[in-house]
Symmetry: D2
Subunit: 336 residues, 4 copies
């Protein structure tokens, strides 16, 4: 941590501040310039509340030097993490596709889609049972029944299932779910993250619409710090001023996170853009820049989908896209 003091800081107050840092076991090193005085702090500065330092009237600014995340930091864990779920691995060259409808709508629908996406090469089935919707008047999901239907589809196809949790209160319903998804709107639902940290389930953590990469990793840190290291990150677009796409896919986050964290990261091009014709090119871009997988919305009848029809592929469209994804993954010596 580096602390910049105000020009006219009285010596006594400076000494008090230095003693306060020392009381936390930190070494201090002070450099006095004409217009600025810089205090360098060495040691475990995570024990110091940065807000308190800024609130001190002799302090101009404080700059943190170390990353605030530890468990998910590649510095302290140089090897790629590999997450294994029902025999399927994600990460470190294991590229996997998760596919399925935005919402589970009926047993027939989810089984039909599951069969098609499995045939196309997806290794996980997604489907929303609890649906976060902007409007209270929109379809809210089949809830517990939706999870039952996903489990039926798993029985039929063998595909492990991924579905979103919206509230801690529903946790018991997720006992047989293979990967619990934390949606973008819950990325900073810290009570939920803490509880999932005590679980052994794999967690698919989506980046929030307005969250920085550092905050994204800090949310993963919440889960990891609780004891659960089975975390898959998911970039799904951030909110910007652009209105032609639903969100802006932050593709740079993929190679950047691969560099600073050891966790696998997948990309959701469906939610990132909201436009079905952009899903394939962005899926290919994700493969090319090192993502560990994809999450794609597929619906057997997008026109009649109860949610997100505009961004859902048909099973036939998904077949075509998967062919191209497989070829490109093969070019990079990855098998799906």
């Amino acid at each position: 941590m580096v602390v910049i003091l105000k020009q006219d800081a009285p010596k006594q107050q400076v000494d008090e501040l230095l003693q306060w840092f020392n009381s936390y076991g930190l070494k201090t090193n002070i450099v006095v310039g004409e217009h600025t005085t810089i205090v360098g702090l060495i040691g475990d500065t995570s024990v110091v509340n940065i807000d308190n330092v800024v609130a001190n009237e002799i302090v101009e600014t404080v700059k943190r030097v170390q990353e605030p995340y530890k468990n998910v930091n590649r510095k302290f864990h140089p090897d790629d993490s590999v997450i294994e779920v029902e025999g399927e691995k994600i990460g470190h060259g294991n590229f996997k596709v998760i596919a399925g409808p935005c919402s589970v709508e009926s047993e027939e629908q989810i089984i039909e889609v599951a069969k098609r996406v499995k045939a196309a090469g997806a290794k996980f089935l997604r489907g929303g049972a609890f649906k976060p919707r902007t409007s209270p008047y929109s379809f809210q999901g089949l809830r517990a029944d939706g999870i039952e239907m996903l489990l039926e589809a798993k029985k039929e196809t063998g595909l492990p299932i991924v579905t979103e949790i919206m509230s801690l209160q529903h946790l018991d319903l997720f006992n047989d779910v293979d990967i619990i998804q934390v949606g973008a709107r819950n990325m900073q639902n810290f009570e939920l993250l803490k509880e999932l940290g005590h679980s052994k389930k794999a967690i698919l953590l989506k980046r929030g619409l307005a969250n920085t990469i550092e905050e994204f990793l800090m949310s993963a840190e919440y889960i990891y710090a609780g004891g659960n290291s089975n975390i898959i990150l998911c970039e799904r677009g951030i909110r910007t001023f652009e209105t032609m796409t639903r969100n802006t896919l932050d593709i740079s986050a993929v190679p950047l996170i691969k560099k600073i964290s050891h966790l696998p990261i997948v990309v959701d091009p469906s939610h990132a853009t909201g436009i079905v014709s952009l899903v394939e090119p962005l899926a290919l871009a994700s493969v090319a820049c090192g993502a560990d997988g994809l999450m794609i919305e597929v619906h057997n009848n997008p026109k009649m989908a109860l949610s997100d029809g505009a961004q859902s592929m048909t099973p036939d469209g998904f077949d075509e896209t998967m062919n191209k994804v497989k070829q490109l993954a093969g070019f990079y010596n990855m098998t799906l």
Copy 2:
């Protein structure tokens, strides 16, 4: 709703689409131009899933004409709502200040601050018991004990209390809380909003960091639709590219929401900027543009605050600011 069809839409598919709209009881009106065909829909279009329409291959775009919010819409409720809590009114000329520390840290601290903010003219005491923190290693609040301390402070001073709920599971702990705050990160925690809709408590709903004004009103609509109309909105800054301030206070949201909704709206200049010296000028700006109140962080010792010290006023600073706020409110014939 207005539906724009693609140039080359085949007549049969157009007819099918029109029939589908009719099946929902909607009147359709079609206008054919050289390059575009426009279908106007009249009736209750909220029954139609806009995603399905966009997913239709003959549709180019869909434009919604009516606001998606109803209960909170001023069109259907022209008079200002007034929220009354423990005898104190907010809205329609009743301007109220909510003040207190970011976090409750001890009984002594919260009682001392409560006395000071009451003396300065605040009518509600705020204090965080459950704290949403980006880092799992930061102080997480005193939780249930914090609420007990707030209730002690209420007993001592008579000030009704405002505190944030982070999870539905804690709802029972909020039985004696006067105003339940839904924080920015939970603005779209829809399960929580639904449950609060069944409560009779006043709800202070903060705008999310990346949420539009329409989404903000839709979250209020969730609570209102459940049967609870005691909603106070709170503008607290949105996330933008600017880094000198913690967030960007969207002051325009205040007069805009006053125009399109009947709910009262207060401003939180402390969280909006994160800089204590900006709190006073932004508080005055809020009064001048028609806000119904303010929420201000005050700490008896900001340097030692366990959270948000950099944006907390001292009690003495708060006295000065309140004098100016009162004078300006008086100029506008409002009493605090």
Copy 3:
């Protein structure tokens, strides 16, 4: 400047870097921790290219400590600047209103509007002659003729005039213009800024749609460094994800800039929102938080305006708003 070195930086390369800093006349101070090494630099670090330092393979990050702006920095110029144009002062308690149509459309129009805004209390007449328009098919302004008409309006009313320059090539046409406006889209047209730095004219510099406050001050620094200190800043809204308003007025920029710079700053609530009914509340908010003036669009017939009709006030509406602005300014002991 503070330089953070990588954990494993070889001693020889560190020594080379330190010598390189010394060669610029800088004192270096090195603090070695377990995971990090911090180098503090003291002296005039503006001579060092920060990009070069970051590009060094042993450097992890570089953090600047001093503000990059000097001339416009309040630290080196504690007193408020007052800009005087044709006998009218702006800044340090001198609050002034600039008003007029978005575009000059005819001599009759501009004279009529000039008379009305003067009668209402405006001290400067604005009007666009050269118009930056997103579409090449939109009205582009009357150009040189527009400036002639503004000068006619000045002759009739005595109001000094403000109009926007879009290209260096037109500079000769601005000889009799009183305040040259640099529009948001040209805030970083550095060749233009340099040239205006050699002028003696007052410059109204508008903040760019995507520019930080620091960049805004750096653009003012360009003008100031060239020798022209007659600079009035103008906050006019930034681009965010919100779509209900045209831009998001960054009201916090007003008190923040007053704190860190000595230049006067005015607010343009018309462009900030694009909604005429929001102009008055935001004008009042601007007065309350310490702005030095306002810039407001007024058109004698907004329905027939050739640009920006939706955000233009009528002269009658402007009369009403000015009454409230004058009263509030009076409350703060300022006269318009």
Copy 4:
């Protein structure tokens, strides 16, 4: 264009508005609902000033149906445009790499870099002579001398050159430049765009930091409408709240623009992120999602670069990246 009228619009005013539309040769079609009245306009609505319509007191909102760009719209020009410069084609499967230093610093430097990037497979040499810099105290480029040095490098290597224009006044200096770059900060310098529309030179138009895709295409429309169809678009990152990268590369813009416009689009991963280690993965992502080329910063000694060292590759690094780009392009049957 679709016009939504207010609920209580008096019949006489509605009739006046309809007549006003008719006076522009537009057909109107009115649909009256319980809460809303919709007017559909058919014909060339580009003649109507949308601002005037919004400013009408009986109008609630106006929604445009047709794209405002014509010449660059794929609807009216279904085939890909191919831009040919000095025998090198860009677009429609012709993938080209533009490479070179941020700034031209000396004849030796630019010639050395030119030889290296040519050997690696680049077909165009970039180098800044006029440099837009945030600070007036930063290196501003070698200006006219820089262009001379680029021409020397062209003579040595045969590579056509790309360099940025910052002001119309310098246009004469660009007579021998092969591709004139319009930088992000000048994307809406409309006077410059108009003049370049009268040129025959190829123009590389970079997207502005805060500009939507629609505005980007409208700026291309300015050039095209003037008579110059030799336009290459360049996505180079937009400004968002994320701070770990300099900008956020909007990769979705590539396939989206390919869909709605016929112009070629290249990607600049160097400026998009400002981090050299991200350039290669983003270059590959760009190839995979259909970009027509790349623009990459290469410097023979990034540590000593006068600008943008942190994002510049070394020639050796560029060799490696180009090998991967060529292989991937080959996989897609494109040759560089």
